[in-house]
Symmetry: D2
Subunit: 109 residues, 4 copies
């Protein structure tokens, strides 16, 4: 079984053991991702770029991944495939020629 499928199965078992599927509509799953992402950002608030509590970093990243996998599963999306597809799209928006060494957004290049 694939690594990501395996993780997703663990998350779904955790969810179903608690009868939480009823709460996991797509809009709230997206909201949960955003809230966990914000908790990740709070680790860096008022701090310099690399000054972060590594244990809490692990936990917040794990929370984000978990809700991402649950939302992807709900829509029958293959996380590996959508990332590969997006890399191809981004390769067109951000050609090496135009974007090398530049942090500008594609619509400002």
């Amino acid at each position: 079984m694939s690594e990501i499928k395996n993780l997703t199965d663990l998350l779904i078992k955790f969810r179903d053991d608690r009868d939480w599927k009823q709460f996991h509509n797509s809009k709230d799953l997206a909201l949960a991702i955003s809230i966990e992402a914000s908790e990740l950002n709070e680790l860096f608030l008022w701090k310099s770029n690399e000054d972060v509590d590594k244990e809490r970093l692990k936990e917040e990243l794990a929370d984000i991944i978990s809700f991402v996998l649950l939302l992807a599963e709900k829509h029958n999306l293959d996380p590996s495939q959508i990332v590969k597809d997006k890399i191809k799209l981004n390769a067109q928006k951000y050609t090496v020629e135009k974007s090398k060494g530049s942090a500008k957004k594609y619509n400002q290049l």
Copy 2:
């Protein structure tokens, strides 16, 4: 090679082809995750829970995953392992007994 390691390698190649490592400090990678999560949420703004553009859903989820994998790699974290560890922690915070059928936060159970 593992599926997640393979994706991470693709993302790092994309980044390095563009000489973007210089911008990818931990604080800004966390910020990027949050911004992409917010773009995901915008797909649902003023809409009902399941009314979402599936193509854009794919793209925003892919963007979140990409920055998550890059931040994890920067800190030598194994995404599968941190998710498994967090599931164990959450199993203690959210015991089946206390949390079954409840959407309350662990500190309000």
Copy 3:
């Protein structure tokens, strides 16, 4: 009329001219605040702390204020009063003695 009441009235007129009250439930107004806050943050992504486009800063701050005033009005809250009340609460959580010169969160002081 108070300055904030005047702004709120302008925002409500704008909303009602477009028949948008139907979309402005509390959860989506909160989501809108978060999305606008994220657009504000995007102005700083991959940049140093004070490197910001001032025109866009004005616009994003204005968007956040607008949705905050609309959500406050929906709940009959007086923005001035809730800020004054919160300053009093924070004065207890963050006493000068404990928090002077420290960026720590109150539960870590």
Copy 4:
């Protein structure tokens, strides 16, 4: 003195009593706004649109307003003026004719 100027003065006194100006660069103030906005959103997570704890709603709105006023002050922006300017801009992007009764974004109208 104007209502907003008065609030801003209270916030600055609170900040300066604690010697916190050193932490309040523009990027972190923007991040703080986003984190507080996310805490506001957490009040609605897994809940229906109007099911919110009103005391916590007050506190989270107050926190957002506070950091917005501090960031505006740092850039010598008049909050009332930027909201009025944005309403004018939005009146052009969202004409009554095109946007009445529609929640679509201006670039999709």
